[in-house]
Each structure stands twice: as C-alpha cells, then as structure tokens.
C-alpha cells in the first residue's frame, strides 16, 4: 500500500465531507491498497493522484454502504435509524463526488465514474458479488489515469489540480 497517498487522500476527503454526515472515510481494503500502489507507477502530479484516489474511494464507500442493506431485514412498517443512515450515507457519498471532482480539477473523471457506478448497480442487481462489481470501478479508474497520462504526453489540457 502507498501509505502516504492513502493517508493524504483520507485527510483530503475528511475536509470535504460535512461533519453533519458523520461518515468515517477510513476504510482500508485490498482494492484501495491496490489502486494506491498502481497510481504510484504513473507519471502525473502527486496531488492529482490524491484526488483521483479520493474520487475512487468516495464511490467505493458509496457502493459498500448501500450494499450493507443486503443484510437488513424489513422493519415491518417501523422506521429504522440504521437503515435511514445507511441510505443517506450512500446517497451523500455519491452526490459529493461531483462537486469534489469539479473543484479539484478532475471534471473529466465524472463521466467514467458515473458509468462505472451504473454498471456496478447492474452487476449487483443481477447477482454479481461485491468484489466482482467493484472491479469495474477499478478498471474504469485505471483507464482514466492512462488516458490522462497519454493526454498530458501529447500536450493536451492537463486539468491540473489547483
């Protein structure tokens, strides 16, 4: 795992998320670790890697949060604060991706991540496991990184993070 990258990413996300949401961003998992190591290999400004990893992690958190609903039982007409919080957290994490990506200069990442998020839902709804579905997010993020690196090599708009 690229500890510095992951730690800096967590710090960045903690500043973005509203304290009212009360969502812990620290969530070590093998795919996050793998992404942090993979990003290391690419030539791009460090801060961009932090932001891209942040966008990746926001979506990962959103998916995992709603996936927790798989194990909840119907409350038979009673409201459940746990279910409410789980639903809201997933919605909030997905929603915050957009202003975060735009503010941090990764506007072009929005379309591939939205596409990945959509396909993750399709996969989960048709029987895939969480790991199988999340691999789509991994691939899509990596495709984006490769394109951006290629773009900057060709002298395109690097969309550098401020």
């Amino acid at each position: 795992m690229n500890h510095m990258l992951v730690t800096d990413m967590y710090r960045l996300l903690e500043k973005q998320l509203s304290s009212e949401a009360n969502i812990p961003v620290t969530f070590h998992n093998s795919q996050l670790e793998q992404m942090s190591v993979t990003l290391q290999a690419y030539t791009m400004p460090y801060m961009r890697k932090v932001v891209i990893l942040g966008c990746y992690h926001l979506l990962q958190l959103a998916v995992c949060r709603h996936q927790e609903l798989y194990t909840v039982a119907d409350q038979n007409g009673a409201r459940s604060p746990h279910i409410s919080k789980t639903i809201l957290d997933g919605d909030y994490l997905f929603g915050i991706l957009f202003p975060f990506a735009i503010r941090m200069g990764e506007r072009r990442l929005i379309a591939p991540l939205t596409h990945a998020y959509k396909n993750i839902q399709i996969q989960l709804l048709h029987g895939s496991t969480l790991n199988e579905a999340l691999s789509l997010l991994f691939e899509q993020t990596l495709d984006y990184v490769r394109e951006e690196v290629s773009r900057s090599k060709n002298g395109g708009d690097t969309d550098e993070v401020a």
Binding site: S18, E20, A21, N22, H66, Q67, L69, Y70, V72, D74, Q75, N76, G77, A78, R79, S80, P81, I83, S84, K85, I87, L88, G90, D91, Y92, F94, G95, I96, L97, F98, P99, A101, I102, R107, I110, A111, T114, H115, Y117, K118, N119, Q121, I122, L124, L125, H126
Partner: protein, 347 residues
C-alpha cells in the same frame, strides 16, 4: 380557445391541470423517461430492473421538477435548446423518482401513489440499488454525447450540479434525523431544514432550465431566488395541509409529520401556546394513536395555523415581488400560474 380555457380555470369554472395551463408536454417527458432505461446498452435484454423502472414511470406523478426545468427554459432560448432542456428535465425527474424510492425505504412506507412501494415489491436492498441505477443511468443518458458535437462544458456543469444536489438534500435529511422528536428546534432551524429539503430542488430546477436554454446569468440567478421563495411557500403550505386536510384527502392520517417526530411550522407555533405546549411535549414515539389524533386536531384548531399561513403568505409575496422583475418577459405569467398552483391559498 386555449386562453378561454385558462381563464375559466383561473376563475374556477373548469379545473385545469398545471401541465395543461403551462403547456408542458407530459407525454413527451414520459417517453423520454422510458428511453433512459430502454436505451441503456449495458442493461441485459430481459431484466426485471428495467420492468420495475418502467412501472415507476407508468405509475405517474405530477412531474413538477421537469415542469420547472422547462419553465426555466422559457427565460432563455428554449426553442434552440429543446433537446438539452428535455434531457435536463428528465434528469431532474429521475433524481426525484429515485429519491422517492429511498425516502419510502427510510419512512418504511407501504404504498406510493396507491401501489406498493418499490421496496415492498422487491426488498430494501434491491429497491435501493434500483434507485442508484436510476440516478447514474439518468446522468449518463442526459450527458450522452451528440454524435457530431462534443458536449458543452456548461451542460456538463448543469448536470453535475444536479447530481451534487443529492448531497445537499442529504444534509437536510441528516438534520431532520438529528432533530426528530426534538421539540425545541427554532424557527431558524426549521426554515433552514425546509430550504435544504424542498426549496433547494425547486430553485435548482428552475435555474437549471434557464441555464440549459442559455439564459442570461442574471435571469438564471433571479429564477433561483424565485424558486427558493416559492419552494419555501410550497413546503410551508404542505406542512399546514398535513394538519388541516382530512385523512381522506391526504390518503393517510393527518399529522404524519408529528407522528414521525418531524416538528414542522404548525407544531413549532403551537409549542408557543401555553394551552398546548405541555401536551405536545408529553408526546413520545410510542404514544397512542388517540393521543396523537387529539394533539393534531388541537393544533389544527389553534392560532398556530393562521400564523403559519401568514408566514406562507410572506414567502408568496416575496415570490410575487421577484416575479415582477421579469415583467417584460413573455413567460412571466407562467411563473404566476405556478405560484398559484403550488400554494393554493385555500388553507
């Protein structure tokens, strides 16, 4: 003929639906909404997900958000940007529909528009994910590239802002959860929550339509303010009707907000009345149905309601004043129609 029908409707001779008064093409909206899911190349050819979503579309709805977007578009060059406007309108309605699916899970609602709520037809997890699919597919569809032209940066921003609304709306919901059964919320907190929960989406819909139609930024921002004031009036009206309308009209027992621990304006004002304060404070989540019914009726009969109506009217007045700034615009009258329809000052 159309003008006569509008006049007759406004004078109460013939009831006319809002979309008719505003000439909103509901069938075109529904057709586009179906296209969102039917045109998804990543959806398996036979999928229960597609069927469920088409069912949600068919179940109807007022289509208020797309109405607002299309109305906002009339203050720009809507005729030149029809496709963009419709995509934006459909996006807002999909975001709304998905939020209703999630809301119904949160509220443990049994029905929606007379039919079982989606999570009752499937299960909580499936319904939540279907809604997530709806949001992301609608975003993807609404920003799909034209084959000949690259999507404008502005359009991308409009749709990204629409998606970002979800996080802002969630903040309103978090606050509501935190303040559930908290009787000491202030008027300021109530107004803030109301803005976050309702006014924000109405304001954003109007503005998004104006921006999609390349309206002047000054006009788009004014429409946002109009939507904000209108949204506040609308929600206050809704909160009043929750106490004053019969169970038959509401389709559920009156005072649902209070039962769910949601302290709205009538209750807030009622708490300032010595004769009701103690009784309201004694209510608990597990208080009897009878206890709730009595309090709800007491609030409905109290001066709290006329006070709430006064505040609603202040927001209506604010909306009217803002609308007047558009007096030279042909579509100004449409905003007045919208205001009357949404605030229906008969309470």
């Amino acid at each position: 003929m159309y003008e006569k029908k509008c006049h007759a409707a406004r004078t109460g001779a013939i009831p006319m639906k809002l979309h008719e008064q505003l000439r909103i093409p509901l069938s075109a909206i529904d057709h586009s909404m179906a296209d969102v899911v039917l045109s998804d190349p990543d959806m398996p050819p036979t999928s229960y997900v597609r069927d469920r979503i088409l069912g949600l579309i068919r179940s109807g709805g007022k289509r208020l958000r797309p109405t607002l977007v299309l109305l906002g578009g009339r203050f720009g060059h809507g005729e030149l940007h029809r496709d963009k406007l419709m995509r934006t309108a459909v996006l807002f309605e999909y975001l709304h529909m998905a939020s209703l699916v999630h809301d119904d899970i949160i509220d443990a609602a049994d029905t929606r528009r007379g039919a079982p709520a989606l999570h009752r037809q499937t299960d909580i997890h499936t319904a939540a994910l279907i809604a997530d699919y709806m949001i992301s597919r609608a975003l993807e569809w609404s920003t799909s590239y034209d084959r000949s032209n690259e999507q404008s940066e502005q359009e991308g921003f409009i749709h990204a802002n629409a998606a970002a609304l979800a996080s802002q709306l969630c903040i309103g919901e978090y606050r509501q959860m935190q303040n559930a059964y908290q009787v000491d919320i202030t008027l300021r907190q109530y107004l803030q929550k109301t803005r976050q929960k309702t006014a924000l989406l109405i304001a954003s819909s109007l503005k998004a339509g104006a921006e999609a139609a390349d309206a002047e930024p000054r006009i788009a921002n004014l429409l946002y303010k109009i939507g904000d004031a209108l949204g506040m009036a609308f929600q206050i009206q809704d909160d009043i009707l929750d106490f004053t309308q019969s169970e038959e009209t509401l389709g559920k027992p009156a005072g649902a907000d209070l039962r769910n621990g949601n302290i709205t304006l009538p209750t807030l004002y009622a708490l300032q009345l010595p004769e009701l304060q103690q009784a309201i404070r004694q209510l608990r989540p597990d208080s009897s149905e009878e206890a709730y019914r009595e309090i709800v009726q007491a609030i409905a009969d109290s001066p709290a309601i006329p006070r709430a109506v006064q505040l609603r009217d202040r927001y209506c007045k604010r909306t009217e004043q803002l609308i007047k700034r558009l007096k030279h615009h042909p579509a100004q009258q449409d905003l007045t129609i919208l205001l009357e329809a949404l605030t229906n000052r008969t309470a």
